[in-house]
C-alpha cells in the first residue's frame, strides 16, 4: 500500500494467563481488543494501540504486555522513518500534523546538566526533620520598600498578595482539554496543599465554585467564559499571551468536545468549535497589554493580582520586562518543552527556547533593571521532579507551574494522544464512559502525595545547602554548577562550571 505506516506497538497477550474475562475489551477506547465471533476468546488488533497501558494495568491475570513494533527501514540518519511516515500521512490528508504533550525530541535538558550544592563544615547542613524548613511562597507585586510607624507596626499599603504553602502550582489545563473530574482532582489537591490550580481558558465549571479561593482563572485570546464573576471568583487572573508548546499559535477545541457542560463553562454554543485566535485582537503592543491589565484590575476592585503568561521565545527577557512595566504583578514564562492538549507538531517541536535559559535571562534582565523584587516570576515547561524545581528557584523563579507530573500521578502514561479525545485514563477526554474512570475523591490524594513528597525533597535539598527558607534559595545561582556546558551556556545561565 502506498500509504503504509507501520504500527507503533504490538499488544502481546499470554494465552496461558488470559482467562478471557473481557476486561481489556471494555477498557480500550482504541478498540484494540475484541472478542471472537463466538464471544469466547479475547483477540487483539494492535494497529491503534497507543501504549497507554490501561489494559495492561487492569488485566486481572497480568496476561498483557505492550511491545514496540519494529519494521526496519534502510538506515538513514537524514530520512528517518518518522519523517517518512509524517510525509506519508500528509500526502494522504493534506493536513497539518497534530501532537499532544511536550516535545519528545532529544533537545538538551539543562536541568540534567546542572548540579546542586551542599554544605560541609563552615555552613552546617540543617536536618529538615529537626529544624523548621520554610517553603512558603508569596506571589504578587511588592512595594519598593516597607514603611513603618515603628518596629512591629507596618504602614505599608500592600497590593494583593497570594500566599502559597509550596512553590509548586498546577498549570493551566482547561475543562474541555481535560475532563471535569481531572480538573476537580487538581482543585481539591490545590485546596488541601495550600496552592493553586489553573482553569486554563475554559471558564470555570459551576461544580468548582467551592474551589475559587485556589483557582487561577485565565483570560486568553478567545475570552471564553470571561465575565465579571469569573474574574472575581479567583485567587489571581492570568492573561494568557502564549503557551510554551505552541508559541504564536492559538487554540482549537473541536466541536465534538464541546458538549453541554463545556459549552456552558465557555459560554459558546454546543457543538461549535472553540477557536482561540493566535493574538489577542485587542493587544498589539505593551500599551494595549497595560490597558487589559488595568481593566481586569478595575473589574476586580484591585483585589486580584494579574499575571501575564508568555511563551519562552528568543527575546523573552525584553518581553518579560515589558510585561512588568505594563503592570503585570506576576509573570509566568512557559518553556518550549511544556505540555499541551494539542498543538501543531512542527510548532511544538521547533518553536521557542528551553525554560532554563529563558528563566535565567528574564530574571537577570529584571534584576539589571532593578524591578525583579517588585514582580513575581513563575516558571513552567516541564518539571519532572523536585530537583528540577529547586534548580528553577535557584535560577530565579518564585514558583513553578506543573501539569504533566500531576497528570501522571492521576494515571497518565504519556501516550501523547490527548488530541484524539480518547484518553483511557479519563483525563484528556469528555466521553462520559471514560471520564467516570477518574474518581476525584481518590485522585486528589495521589496528587497531594506527589506534591507532599516533592515538598519533603525540596526541604531536604535546602537543608543540605544549609538554607532554611526558600527565600534564600531564590535566585541563589551560587548553589548551581554546570556540567558539560559551553562558556556561552554558562554565561546565559549565570552559573559556574562544576569544579570552579
Amino acid at each position: 500500500m502506498i500509504n503504509y505506516i507501520p504500527r507503533r506497538f504490538t499488544v502481546v497477550r499470554d494465552r496461558e494467563l488470559c482467562i478471557d474475562c473481557g476486561c481489556c475489551v471494555r477498557q480500550c477506547s482504541n478498540e484494540c481488543h475484541y472478542f471472537s465471533d463466538d464471544g469466547k476468546t479475547a483477540l487483539v488488533k494492535s494497529d491503534h494501540c497507543v501504549a497507554c497501558h490501561r489494559c495492561v494495568d487492569l488485566c486481572p491475570t497480568g496476561a498483557l504486555r505492550i511491545e514496540k513494533y519494529i519494521c526496519d527501514y534502510r538506515d538513514n540518519a537524514n530520512w528517518t522513518p518518522a519523517y517518512q511516515q509524517e510525509i506519508c500521512r500528509q500526502a494522504a490528508t493534506g493536513g497539518t500534523l497534530l501532537s499532544a504533550m511536550g516535545t519528545p525530541k532529544p533537545y538538551p535538558i539543562y536541568w540534567d546538566k546542572i548540579l546542586l550544592n551542599a554544605s560541609q563544615v563552615t555552613n552546617p547542613s540543617i536536618d529538615p526533620l529537626r529544624e523548621p524548613m520554610e517553603i512558603r511562597t508569596i506571589l504578587g507585586r511588592k512595594p519598593e520598600k516597607l514603611t513603618v510607624a515603628q518596629k512591629g507596626k507596618s504602614t505599608t499599603e500592600m497590593p494583593p498578595q497570594v500566599v502559597l504553602e509550596t512553590p509548586i502550582m498546577f498549570s493551566a489545563m482547561s475543562f474541555g482539554s481535560i475532563s471535569l473530574n481531572a480538573q476537580k482532582s487538581l482543585a481539591m489537591a490545590a485546596k488541601n496543599l495550600g496552592t493553586l490550580f489553573n482553569t486554563g481558558e475554559g471558564g470555570l465549571h459551576p461544580d468548582l465554585k467551592e474551589y475559587t479561593d485556589c483557582a487561577v482563572v485565565q483570560v486568553a485570546s478567545g475570552r471564553f467564559g470571561v465575565h465579571k464573576d469569573y474574574l472575581k471568583n479567583s485567587r489571581f487572573v492570568e492573561i494568557k499571551i502564549g503557551q510554551g508548546a505552541k508559541p504564536g499559535i492559538g487554540g482549537h477545541l473541536p466541536g465534538e468536545k464541546v458538549n453541554v457542560e463545556v459549552s456552558n463553562a465557555r459560554m459558546i454554543p454546543e457543538g461549535s468549535d472553540a477557536i482561540s485566535p493566535a493574538p489577542h485582537h485587542d493587544i498589539y503592543s505593551i500599551e494595549d497589554l497595560r490597558q487589559l491589565i488595568w481593566s481586569i484590575k478595575q473589574a476586580t476592585d484591585n483585589k486580584k493580582p494579574v499575571c501575564v503568561k508568555i511563551a519562552a521565545v528568543h527575546n523573552v527577557a525584553a518581553i518579560a520586562s515589558g510585561c512588568a512595566r505594563a503592570g503585570a504583578d506576576i509573570i509566568a514564562i512557559d518553556g518550549f518543552r511544556g505540555g499541551t492538549g494539542a498543538a501543531p507538531t512542527r510548532i511544538r517541536d521547533n518553536v521557542g527556547i528551553p525554560i532554563e535559559l529563558a528563566l535565567a535571562t528574564a530574571d537577570q534582565r529584571l534584576r539589571d533593571e532593578g524591578i525583579r523584587s517588585s514582580v513575581s516570576l513563575v516558571a513552567a515547561g516541564s518539571f519532572r521532579c523536585s530537583a528540577d524545581i529547586v534548580k528553577a528557584i535557584a535560577l530565579g523563579a518564585d514558583a513553578c507551574y506543573c501539569a504533566s507530573a500531576p497528570l501522571i500521578a492521576m494515571g497518565c502514561h504519556m501516550c501523547q494522544t490527548c488530541n484524539t479525545g480518547k484518553c483511557n485514563w479519563g483525563i484528556a477526554t469528555q466521553r462520559p464512559e471514560l471520564t467516570k474512570r477518574l474518581n476525584p475523591d481518590m485522585m486528589h490524594e495521589r496528587v497531594e502525595n506527589l506534591i507532599h513528597a516533592w515538598n519533603h525533597e525540596i526541604k531536604e535539598i535546602m537543608g543540605g545547602m544549609g538554607i532554611n527558607s526558600i527565600d534564600s534559595l531564590r535566585g541563589n545561582r551560587l548553589m548551581l554548577r554546570g556540567l558539560g556546558l559551553s562558556e556561552k551556556e554558562l554565561e546565559i545561565l549565570g552559573i559556574k562550571h562544576a569544579g570552579e
Partner: protein, 137 residues
C-alpha cells in the same frame, strides 16, 4: 563582595540609609521570625512581619552568624535564626556587653546584673545615651 561581613554591612546600609528603616526594623529583616511563629502573632505584628518578609524576602540571612553593628545611634546585636553561632549579652548599670561566650564577658565585667543568650529572632539594640538625649530634646 567577598565576605559575609561585607554582604551584611551592605544590607544594613541599603535598609537603613536607602530605605530609611529604623535600625531595629532592619534587624528584623535580616533575622525575621519563622512563619509558624508569625502565624501565631496578633494581627498587627503578623501584618508587620508578613509585609516585611514579603518585601525583603531576598534580604533574609541564612546560615550561621552573630553580628554586632555599631553606629552613632547605638549597638545592635543579631544572631542567626537557628542559633548556629552563639551570642551572649549582658548589662551592668548603663553598660552593655556582647560576646560569643559568657566567660569572655565575665573577664571584663565579673558581676554583670543581667546575662542572657541573644535569641535568633529577637535582635538586641542598645541605644547610646547621648543619642537618646538628642531625641528627647
Amino acid at each position: 563582595m567577598q565576605t559575609d561581613t561585607e554582604v551584611i554591612t551592605y544590607l544594613f546600609d541599603h535598609l537603613i540609609r536607602h530605605h530609611g528603616l529604623p535600625v531595629n526594623v532592619a534587624a528584623d529583616v535580616l533575622t525575621a521570625p519563622e512563619w509558624d511563629e508569625i502565624d501565631r502573632m496578633d494581627k498587627e505584628k503578623k501584618e508587620y512581619f508578613t509585609n516585611l518578609r514579603a518585601i525583603y524576602n531576598g534580604a533574609l540571612v541564612n546560615g550561621p552568624f552573630s553580628v554586632i553593628l555599631g553606629s552613632n545611634k547605638g549597638l545592635l546585636a543579631i544572631n542567626d535564626r537557628l542559633k548556629l553561632r552563639s551570642l551572649t549579652a549582658a548589662t551592668k548599670g548603663d553598660r552593655a556587653y556582647f560576646a560569643s561566650e559568657e566567660s569572655a564577658i565575665r573577664i571584663i565585667c565579673p558581676e554583670p546584673e543581667k546575662v542572657w543568650s541573644v535569641s535568633g529572632a529577637d535582635p538586641v539594640f542598645v541605644p547610646l545615651e547621648i543619642y537618646e538625649k538628642e531625641d528627647d530634646g
